[in-house]
Amino acid sequence: MNDINVVLNGKNIKGNKGEYILSLAKRNGFEIPSLCFDERLDPYSSCFVCVVEIEGMKNLQPACSTRIMEGMKINTINEKVFKARKTALELLLSNHYADCLGPCKQTCPAGVDVQGYISYIEKGMYHEAVALIKETNPLPAICGRVCVRPCEVACRRNLLNEGTAVGIDYMKRFAADYDLFSSNKYKPSIPAATGKKIAIIGAGPGGLSAAFFLRKYGHEVDIYEAAPLAGGWLRYGIPEYRLPNDILQKEVDNITEMGVRIFFNQKLGENISYKTLKNKYDSLVLAIGSQKGTSIGCEGDDAINCLSGIDFLKAMELSGKRYDFKGKTVAVVGGGNTAMDCCRSSIRCGAKKVYVIYRRTEKEMPANPIEIHESKLEGVEYIFLTAPVKVNKDKEGKIKSMTCVKMELGEPDASGRRRPVVVEGSEFNMEMDYAIAAIGQKTNINFLEDINTNCDKGELNATKWGDVDANPLTLQTGIASVFACGDGVSGPATLIQAVAQAKIASLSCHQYLTNLPIQPLQKEFISKKDNFKLQIAEDYVGKFLTQMREEMPTLNPKERNNFKEVELGYKNEKIAQHEAARCLECGCVEYYDCDLKKYATEYGAEQNKFQGKYNESPVDFHHPFIEIDNNKCVLCSRCIRICKEVVGANALGLVNRGFDTYVAPSMGKRLQDTTCESCGLCISACPTGAITENVLFKPGPVKLDKIETICNYCSVGCAITIHHKNGFAMKITGREGIVNTDGNICKYAKFGYTYINDKNRITKPLIKEGNKFTEISFEKAFGIIEEKIKNVKADENVFFAGARLSNEEMYLIQKLARAGAKTNQVASFHYLNRENGLLNNSCANVPFNQIKEASRIYLLGSEINMDNAVVGFMIQNTRVKNNIPVELITNKTNSRLINKVDKLLQIKSYYYFVKALNHYILSNELENKLFIKNNCDGFDKYRTNLLKENYSELVKKAGITNELVTKFAQDYNKELNAILIFSEKELSANACQEIFNLSILTGKLGKTANGIISLKEKNNSQGLLDMGISPERGVGGISITDKGLIEKMKTQWGINELPQSRDINVKEQLHQGKFKNIVVFGEDPIGCAIEPEAVRNWFAKAEFVVVQDYFLTETTKQANLILPASFPFETGGTFTNTQKVIQKFEKQFQSNMEYDSNAQLIKLIEKFGIKGVIEPSEVISEIIQMLPEPNNTKKYSFAETTDENRCRLFDYGCDALVKYFEDKYVELLNNEKNS
């Protein structure tokens, strides 16, 4: 038996012989972390993060490469193991000079994902941007106007010569306004009601935010506000020229629209008591703000017209009237943002002269620099290094003047700013009419008693500064059900700090209400470059393109004698997007997927524990798709190993030794100059962000949604996942599918996705008028098509279906032709002229998963690493792991496979080579007679005819010596598990036929790990043969004259008669111009033709051409009517791969087209009054009804061929998509070469 008994963490467990501890543990639910382990590769053991303890062994053992043994006692997690793993991670992190997050997000008190929303703005996805911002900040339009922007201070753009940060707040404002004024603004989803009720005191930024977050948990939220309107300080403190009331109201409305109620003029402890609230609500959140103004604090500050800034601003908002300062002199004392609001408002109240008196210098002013700048523009004068000592009143008690002293700066104080010191004897007098003190605020907690007398348990306290006392981590107060946030807790602070606190208090409150332990979110590990060194200009200058900031347009200073908003906002999307491009993307693109970060968080690792030398290297952006950032590399070598063991390209290697080791393309070249095949498997292997996709857009990183589908490039049929946000694809990964069982994918799938984001996609039918296409409705388009088809003889219509379409689409197309247009003229350019020779190709193929059991693999006419790379990976892996030789037979002198095979046979003609082999086998009677007798038809005739041919002539035409043919034939015939792999792209139909003959001649066909594998060009080439895309064969590939099929067609389609015509040579008819209407679905014959002029002529001869595609192609340009096509994941359906594996993919995304491809066909068929399905999802059942019974008694037939002909007429599988990618691929690789 293969069972092995082990004790895993004290549990008796059975394992399999040869199994590694890591996989055994995983199967039993013990996740062991590892960075260097990759299921696709041999164990390597470099990271040592997976160590476990095995009883009786001195050292800890890496679980990834230790096989279990009978009686082994394994501990996958204990203190020793935990410590070792943590140390390993800390050592790795000590040389991980990289940022997980940009400084913007790290600095933001609320942790707003700046880099993420900028990436949305760059793509014009403003609702998504707002949704992202609102995960942490529910007031983006307000914040976009009045935030103090610590993010911009931290922005690394500041370090570039241009000296200004990215306009983060400006962009936020743009996105927020866009969303606010759009008809489909972002609305957060609210989960089912929890039944819990919360009262919030105060509708300022803290209270509004807390309401937002708590409502999002599904709780019922009411706000009690003392003032008559919502907004708190936002409304009563910030003047309208900075934050217009309508913007504020809109964001308040957003919150009330979520179901939050606000009760106004309700003051806790005055007209509403805690007692009432306690009985009505489950919890209370105090968001009371800090609203008490402070006076100047010197003798005479009780003078009339000596105001506190807060009262000054609030009075105007409450009364709706501004102060009349006409001809007056106003002095504002203070240097903060309130001082700015006061001085600038004073100007707007008509003051003759406005001074700001500040005891330090401008450099020390806490106010936002932009405010200082604007105030100066508006005429405010600054008197620095000055402090009031006395207010002098007139006899009415009104302020007359103020006595001030001069100050000088001394030693730095606790705040780090230099302390102002009075200059002796420097007193002087300033005349003034008003003095406004903007030197601080106090919190008013006169409701304490009300609460404490009414609460049952606990006590609400004040801090020594007079603020509400709450746990700084959870913001829970001394009363378990009462939480607090905002200025009322922290003392006067900023809007964004209030928002940040609201989020914390909301979480704690939610935890309280759901009986969870009240604790802050676990702090995730964040790697920071600043942990290694302070970032300086030299680290950035010259490494990024210079781009000046899009400045904020403002109201002309001369037109500011009012409270109109000064900042006007970015004018249009172009400007916002242009500014978005300035983001340096400091944060790591793998933020959400990095294993190192995940484990570092799990194990509480610290980056500074083992500080020392670290390696800093420039990021390698040379390759157009793959970027290498060695700063993030942990030297797990997965990239190197997958490139060697799976791809066989060996394009990467380790350079240097010891601490200086790094990963680089081989021989010091640029990656694209090595043997790299751009498959991107290295990216899939990297556990951190060291090898990532080099994308042209800003990837965020943002959390993406997934579409699971089947690749629509080649015929292998790999399962893939499209990672996207609202249809914008940002990344493709492989999935463990039926075919690609280990989830590997190739460059087409990995990088060939940008078409999904292409803005030039056709979404409406287009009719050609003159030389221009104009949009028309689907109904109209269908009408035109119907009319055109009916107006000519049935067989003057021809229908083409492309090999990328789903089986369902193909089926509907031939139904449209046969039932609707009453013609059998249905074909595919893809197979035009050669379909018959390829019919046998997929018959009894060796399943891909048997490749690893081969004893020898022959690649005959298959550039497998380029065209069907995933099968190439299977071959290469077999070759490396099992030492199975691979032999290449090619007519190419520059095949890139040469480095990846063990033997090379250079020939001139595949066709004659195989025919010579067959001739040799027959003339030497080496054929498998028993197999032929039992399983084959037509042998004698084939034998007789072939032997008539001149063997020497065949060998000569094959372009190889007789000895080599002889040797090959003998060896191949003898080989026990010979798998011969060929592709339709490289071989003519006749060559394919002769390979089939060879496989039955030697009796290899259909045996385990023995026989042939044919590779088709497109994802659904096989579907064309199965779905009746042929003038002579219907569904199931059976003859159109088959009685059973005829019966089925009649019943299923509800028709009495089927078309009779049998002119099967479609190419000849095209050539002769016999078709008046050509209808093409999903093919680009003109763009892909090997001889485009000939094909163009075929189309020129037609009267009316209809083409359905995603984009404008060479063929659509020739069309009279263009129909839009939908992407596979927008319709759902099935593809049949080259081995006849039928794979279903679901409709997972709604296209913005009125009719998707399937629905268009159903509509068209309806036009002709044909019965059948109405719902696209039902097509498959109709197809199944049409299929013939499986026939197991059918024999293989030998077929004679005459010469090397019936080659393909089109490149790229006749699919514009393939051409689109390949052209781009070549261009990008070459572009890079030139640069």
Partner: protein
């Protein structure tokens, strides 16, 4: 090609010995790398000329025909004789007179006086530094007579480039016996019974290794001789390869027979050009003679041996890395299991043995397992070769039986520490570093530890491949740990986390301690890292890299503390922590120090006390060594 038989071997031996019997005197000039560097080849040339001058009939190649002559002198070059500090060495047989530090100009005198007149030249004889006694030859020299040179045996006697001479000393008899009288199982059993353990450092039972490989299922098997001797200061393998390459070839053949391998590799550092040359020549000669190649000694087995030159990575001495290196990959260890016996070179079962181990094998086959079993301790059988260096009188290559104490090695063979302080006292012993850079320091109170695998490990050091560095009290143990860690850290292949980054971090800590920037907690951090690196590194390099730190922390922790806490280097070696000062009471104003100072940091008038400007002083110590009045003190 024709193979050679036992009779052929015996014939060659007989013919050669017959010729040798015609020789009157035999002069052996040491041509090991050390002696060559000191000019021994020039001495050889001078000897030839001197013989010509004196008219004695000289013979330089015994394979050529020689005539009977009363005065015939056979002049030969040998491999390393071990007493490297005294080279070039010239030994005259049969009288066994050994001349040391011979110069070419001494040649004529040696011939005329010693050969012709039979007089000794006292000047060229070895004088024991501890008692000033003159020794005539090896039997009187403690360095030699305290040793038991079995494996080194003919090394230093035979001409390494002459296969006939090797055969004449009984060479290839063991191989012949293995092929014609023993089965593979019997060979493995003999090696197992002999108790032979791997001399590369691991000490794994060689017999067990062979038996495992013998039983392994593999369509092809390999023998690898590991000659990638990388420890600084170690030259055991080199001396064997240079001095007696045929013994190694013979050992490989026996191993190949034992496991049924037909191909072998000798992996030699490219930095050992002479070893490469001599191994290649030995293999070539053995081929030419029909010893190697097809149908070895008439058996069905073929053996081909290749010499592979290593590219210089220390870690290639680790067996999986060495295998990778032969296969053409980056020299980087892989995880074991699978062991090479299961999956070795090119995926085939492989025996990989160190040079010294393989050189011991023919002796076991020839003399039987009981013979070696009778030497050594219970668990460590036979002898061990060491490269004895450092602060001892006699440095060089030595071989002693397991069970000898370290004290015996250092004081009897090595002659102890003879250096004196400025004031004339003998400098005290501090520690002996054993086992190469991954080894450990053994302090004075453990000097009676016997040399065997287990006793050494108990001290915290390791047997290693045989490095023995003796250190006197002027050695700073922190700096010493830093030195060795610097070596291993640089030689890390970079694969596993703990070795790549962990050892780097340890080195950084040691560096800052020696520079006077040590912090509280550094010792704890060193201990933590040492423990983790030892426990969780992929290969031996990493697992043992912290050893120098661990053992010095164990025995000399106070030195670390002095560096960190007091900012003092007790051995006064760490420059940033010492100051040179002039004791004005003792200074005579002779100006010697002032003249010697390369940075003009010393000022002072003649006959008046001088002064050192500390801001200029680079602490080179020139003044200290020049002062004749002990007026300069190190603080």
């Amino acid at each position: 090609m024709k193979y050679i038989s036992k009779k052929d071997i015996e014939d060659i031996k007989e013919r050669y010995l017959k010729k040798a019997s015609l020789i009157h005197k035999h002069i052996v000039i040491c041509a090991g790398t050390g002696c060559i560097a000191n000019g021994s080849l020039l001495v050889y040339q001078a000897m030839i000329e001197a013989l010509e001058v004196t008219g004695l009939s000289k013979v330089v190649d015994l394979t050529l025909d020689i005539h009977e002559d009363d005065n015939s002198v056979y002049l030969s070059r040998s491999g390393c004789q071990g007493f490297c500090a005294q080279g070039p060495l010239v030994t005259i047989f049969p009288d066994e007179i050994m001349y040391v530090k011979v110069k070419p100009e001494d040649a004529l005198e040696i011939i005329q006086k010693t050969l012709v007149k039979k007089e000794l030249i006292d000047r060229l004889l070895y004088i024991n530094p501890s008692n000033e006694e003159i020794s005539k030859g090896p039997s009187e020299i403690p360095f030699y007579n305290q040793q038991n040179r079995l494996v080194l045996g003919e090394c230093g006697k035979v001409d390494p480039e002459s296969i006939e001479e090797y055969i004449s000393h009984g060479g290839y008899i063991a191989a012949e016996k293995a092929f014609n009288q023993l089965t593979d199982k019997e060979i493995c059993d003999m090696i197992l019974q002999s108790g032979l353990r791997g001399r590369g450092g691991g000490g794994f039972s060689t017999g067990q290794k062979w038996e495992l490989t013998r039983l392994a299922q593999s369509d092809k098997k390999y023998v690898i001789c590991n000659g990638d001797e990388g420890d600084p200061g170690a030259f055991m393998d080199r001396s064997l390869m240079e001095g007696n390459p045929h013994r190694i070839v013979e050992g490989i053949m026996i191993a190949a027979k034992a496991i049924n391998a037909d191909e072998a590799y000798v992996y030699v550092r490219a930095e050992y050009p002479l070893a490469v040359k001599r191994m290649k020549k030995a293999i070539e000669d053995a081929h030419k003679m029909g010893i190697l190649g097809s149908h070895v000694f008439g058996s069905k087995q073929h053996i081909n041996i290749h010499v592979m030159e290593g590219a210089g990575a220390f870690v290639c001495g680790e067996e999986t890395a060495l295998i990778g290196s032969i296969e053409g990959h980056r020299g980087m260890p892989n995880r074991k299991p699978p062991y090479p016996s299961q999956k070795g070179l090119f995926g085939k079962s492989t025996v990989i043995n160190n040079v010294e181990t393989l050189a011991t094998v023919p002796l076991i086959i020839k003399n039987g397992p009981e013979w070696i079993n009778s030497i050594g301790t219970e668990k460590s059988k036979g002898t061990k070769i060491f490269a004895l260096t450092g602060h001892v009188a006699n440095t060089g290559l030595i071989e002693v039986p397991f069970g000898t104490t370290l004290r015996e090695i250092i004081y009897n063979v090595g002659g102890g520490i003879v250096d004196k302080t400025v004031s004339g006292e003998t400098i005290k012993f501090k520690a002996v570093q054993m086992g190469g850079p991954s080894g450990g320091c053994i302090p004075e109170h453990l000097l009676d530890t016997i040399v065997d695998y287990d006793s050494v490990i108990a001290t915290g050091a390791i047997m290693g491949s045989g490095g023995l560095v003796v250190m006197d009290e002027n050695t700073c143990m922190v700096d010493m740990a830093r030195f060795f860690l610097d070596f291993t850290q640089k030689e890390s292949c970079g694969k596993c986390t703990f070795c790549r980054i962990g050892s780097k971090r340890m080195l950084e800590i040691l560096l800052r301690i020696t520079q006077g920037e040590g912090k509280q907690g550094d010792i704890e951090l060193l201990e933590e890292l040492s423990e983790q690196i030892t426990k969780s590194s992929l290969c031996g390099l990493g697992q043992t890299a912290p050893n120098p730190v661990l053992t010095t922390l164990k025995y000399f922790k106070h030195e670390y503390e002095a560096h960190i806490r007091d900012k003092k280097c007790p051995a006064k070696k760490c420059k940033p922590l010492i100051t040179y000062e002039i004791n004005s009471g003792k200074c005579t104003g002779c100006t010697a120090c002032k003249k010697a100072c390369p940075v003009s940091a010393i000022s002072g008038e003649r006959k008046l006390p001088h002064l050192i400007d500390q801001s200029l002083c680079t602490k080179c110590g020139m003044c200290y060594s020049k002062c004749k009045f002990q007026a300069i003190t190190i603080g």
